[in-house]
């Protein structure tokens, strides 16, 4: 499964990724000069955190958000393994927001859905990876069994 790999040494915290995520995915108008004035304010799905780390959804192998979602809105695409929000059935209960260990799900009261990175699953290429000026973000195959990419607790059964 392809995931977004971050190289923190190359990230300059320029915020290009979250700006363009907000424009390309979060906004209605999809153009810079229109999206920045849109109401409700577009919500980017990537967070430039701490010391140079753009944080996206990890698409965990065992996803707490899918477990917590009461009505099956949070689901996994069987073909790609990506976790995404099926917006029509979201009841804005924010269970997923509370339970995500990475904190990357945002409640959006204005549009009544939970908002989360879906690795641009309906696009050819994730926008953040495309715009990153230092190539700190890359699209790569997830290594087998690599727990660094996701939340995969050791189970004893």
């Amino acid at each position: 499964m392809k995931v977004i790999k971050v190289d923190p040494e190359k990230c300059t915290q320029c915020h290009a990724c979250d700006l363009w995520c907000g424009i390309e995915i979060g906004s209605e108008k999809k153009e810079l000069n229109d999206a920045i004035h849109e109401k409700p304010q577009p919500v980017p799905r990537v967070y430039v955190e701490g010391n140079n780390f753009p944080l996206h959804c990890r698409h965990c192998e065992v996803a707490p958000c899918i477990d917590a979602c009461p009505n099956g809105t949070m689901r996994r695409d069987p073909a790609t393994g990506l976790v995404y929000v099926y917006e029509p059935t979201c009841i804005a209960c924010w269970m997923c927001v509370m339970v995500c260990p990475f904190g990357i799900i945002a409640p959006s009261p204005s549009i009544h859905v939970a908002v989360k990175c879906d690795r641009c699953r309906n696009m050819e290429y994730p926008i953040c990876v495309d715009v990153c000026p230092t190539k700190a973000l890359a699209l790569e195959e997830r290594e087998e069994g690599a727990t660094w990419y996701g939340y995969a607790p050791k189970r004893s059964y």
Binding site: C14, G22, I36, P42
Partner: protein, 561 residues
């Protein structure tokens, strides 16, 4: 900004783009593509680096960093982005003037009209000091009174330039007042341009409309060639031409004033393709100023073994000996470059350049307006910008306007772009112009082309023409159907130029859009507030449109005569 598929409309440049790609030599277009997408914060003006607590942005999508650390909100950040450009652009005009005036004051050269020169030097000193100049008094009284009432009549370098720059440092202000400060700074640039144009004619004599040839085909194959790039003292240019005379050395120019009477420096190309002449192999030495000169020329020069001589250095030599040294170096370089292949496409175009306001009978233009023979006047300025297909915007726009009987005048490197495509060629005039416009142009003289070049940005041909119109038409400038357009604007000088054009009451269209779009308030103030104060808007248009739509916009904005 977007990827541009077709880099240039100039086929000569295309020829070399292929060579550069094969040889893996990066040109301006490659560097532009490597920079995409450009920073959205800077493009929309929502950024600031005026202190060390930053750099700050106003993030449109995050609530925690919407306002700069010192408190500049998105409206102020955007208007400051505009102010920064205007200040730098104004200093460009002041720098050109200062260089020239300093040499004249030091007694260089023998001015053709001594009394006029002395008066102008006194005026220039007044401009630096408390701003009292005779040249600004040439504007109609109503316009001056309006500027004084708004508080923006330039009253000296300190209060018009230093103070406007300090607006960027902080203070409590609003968008509208900050904009007025920017216009005050820009008007100093206007005064500087007018003084420089007049000083040039007083010292060297008048420029007459001259038959010129432009584009790479003018480069000779078997003579030493010196190319003058950018802006530097006209005295140095004169001395270089003096030293070259009789030695069969060709002195030509790129992005520089082509006329220093009695000399003329053929414009080999314009801003967007300034790197290309070096690739012909025909250029032996380039003399570079600072303004409008790409630093990449130094790297390119190495590949084709071209000598590079910068003029704006710390320890400046005496002009005459410097010029002789340059010519000596050019001759040496020519001998050393014998085996460098020459690849000079045989493409050039004729044109007539070097009109000044006195060569246009403004009374005929005023009459043609009132008779309805022409529908309005368009001022074309700006140069090239890699964000557009080179020359396409300005040439196509000009052709649309000419067809609709709009009298077009051009300034600076815009003229060179138009010349490359025959719009300054009198023979192509009637084919490109509407009937009414053709008739007017034919009545202005024997050899008048479709678009009239009123001089480089070191002359105030356009402003002088507008002042003549206002005088003869007995109307304020803002009541004439005039529109200004920068179709491929680039340098900060263009932003200052646009600002003072609006201050004169002329609606101005500027592409690419100014970096103020992050603030609706700033966009609206550049429209509504400027219309209220000056009678004209500075248009910020983000909508993508082709040149036909742009031409329609320009025509619609022309008020009824």
């Amino acid at each position: 900004m977007d990827f541009v598929q077709r880099k240039t409309a100039d086929s000569v440049v295309d020829h070399f783009l292929k060579e550069a790609a094969e040889k893996e030599i990066p040109l301006v277009w490659d560097r532009y593509e490597g920079s995409l997408p450009q920073c959205g914060f800077c493009e929309t003006g929502l950024n600031c680096r005026d202190c060390l607590q930053g750099p700050c942005v106003s993030h449109p999508f995050k609530d925690q960093n919407k306002v700069g650390i010192c408190g500049k909100d998105k409206d102020i950040l955007a208007v400051h982005s505009f102010v920064r450009l205007v200040v730098q652009g104004t200093m460009g005009y002041l720098d050109q003037l200062a260089d020239f005036a300093k040499d004249v004051e030091a007694g260089k050269g023998s001015p053709k009209r001594k009394q006029e020169t002395t008066k102008l030097i006194k005026d220039i000193q007044g401009m630096w000091g408390d701003g009292s100049t005779d040249v600004m008094k040439k504007f109609p009284k109503a316009l001056i009174d309006g500027w004084k009432a708004a508080g923006i009549y330039p009253d000296g370098m300190a209060s018009a330039l230093f103070k406007v720059s300090q607006k960027l440092d902080g203070g409590v202000g609003n968008v509208e007042e900050t904009l007025l400060w920017a216009f005050k700074g820009a008007l100093m640039g206007c005064a500087a341009q007018m003084l420089q144009g007049r000083l040039k004619t007083a010292v060297f004599g008048d420029t007459a409309p001259t038959n010129v040839e432009v584009n790479l085909g003018v480069l000779p194959k078997d003579q030493p060639v010196v190319l003058l790039y950018g802006h530097f003292s006209p005295f140095l240019k004169q001395k270089i031409a003096d030293a070259a005379k009789g030695k069969k050395i060709k002195v030509m120019g790129v992005c520089t004033d082509p006329f220093v009477p009695p000399y003329y420096f053929a414009p080999v190309t314009n801003y967007g393709s300034q790197e290309i002449p070096l690739m012909t192999g025909a250029v032996d030495l380039i003399v570079t100023g600072d303004q409008c000169v790409n630093p990449s020329l130094a790297e390119l020069a190495k590949v084709w073994k071209v000598e590079v001589v910068p003029t704006e250095v710390l320890n400046r030599k005496d002009v005459s000996s410097f010029a002789k040294e340059i010519i000596g170096m050019a001759q040496e370089a020519f001998k050393a470059r014998g085996e460098v292949a020459r690849d000079i496409p045989n493409i050039k175009e004729s044109g007539v350049m070097g009109f000044s306001a006195k060569d246009i009978h403004a009374d005929k233009v005023v009459k043609a307006l009132s008779d309805g023979k022409i529908k309005g006047i368009a001022i074309l300025a700006g140069c090239n910008n890699v964000k557009f297909t080179q020359d396409q915007e300005i040439v196509s726009l000009a052709r649309e306007l000419l067809k609709k009987d709009i009298f077009c005048v051009s300034e600076g490197c815009a003229s060179v772009g138009l010349a490359k495509f025959g719009l300054l060629n009198p023979k192509q005039r009637d084919a490109s112009c509407g009937k009414g416009l053709s008739a007017l142009l034919a009545s202005l003289g024997k050899n008048v082309p479709a678009v009239i070049d009123l001089g480089s940005c070191e002359n105030s041909g356009v402003t002088d023409f507008l002042l003549d119109m206002a005088n003869l038409g007995k109307k304020p400038i803002k009541e004439f159907p005039i529109v200004a357009c920068f179709p491929e604007a680039n340098r900060t000088k263009a932003v200052a130029r646009a600002a003072w054009t609006v201050a004169m009451g002329i609606p101005t269209y500027f592409w690419p859009f100014l970096p103020v779009t992050g603030s609706q308030k700033t966009i609206e103030s550049l429209s509504g507030f400027c219309e209220e104060k000056f009678g004209a808007k500075l248009h910020v248009i983000t909508e993508k449109m082709d040149y036909i739509k742009k031409a329609e916009l320009l025509v619609k904005s022309l008020k009824k005569a």
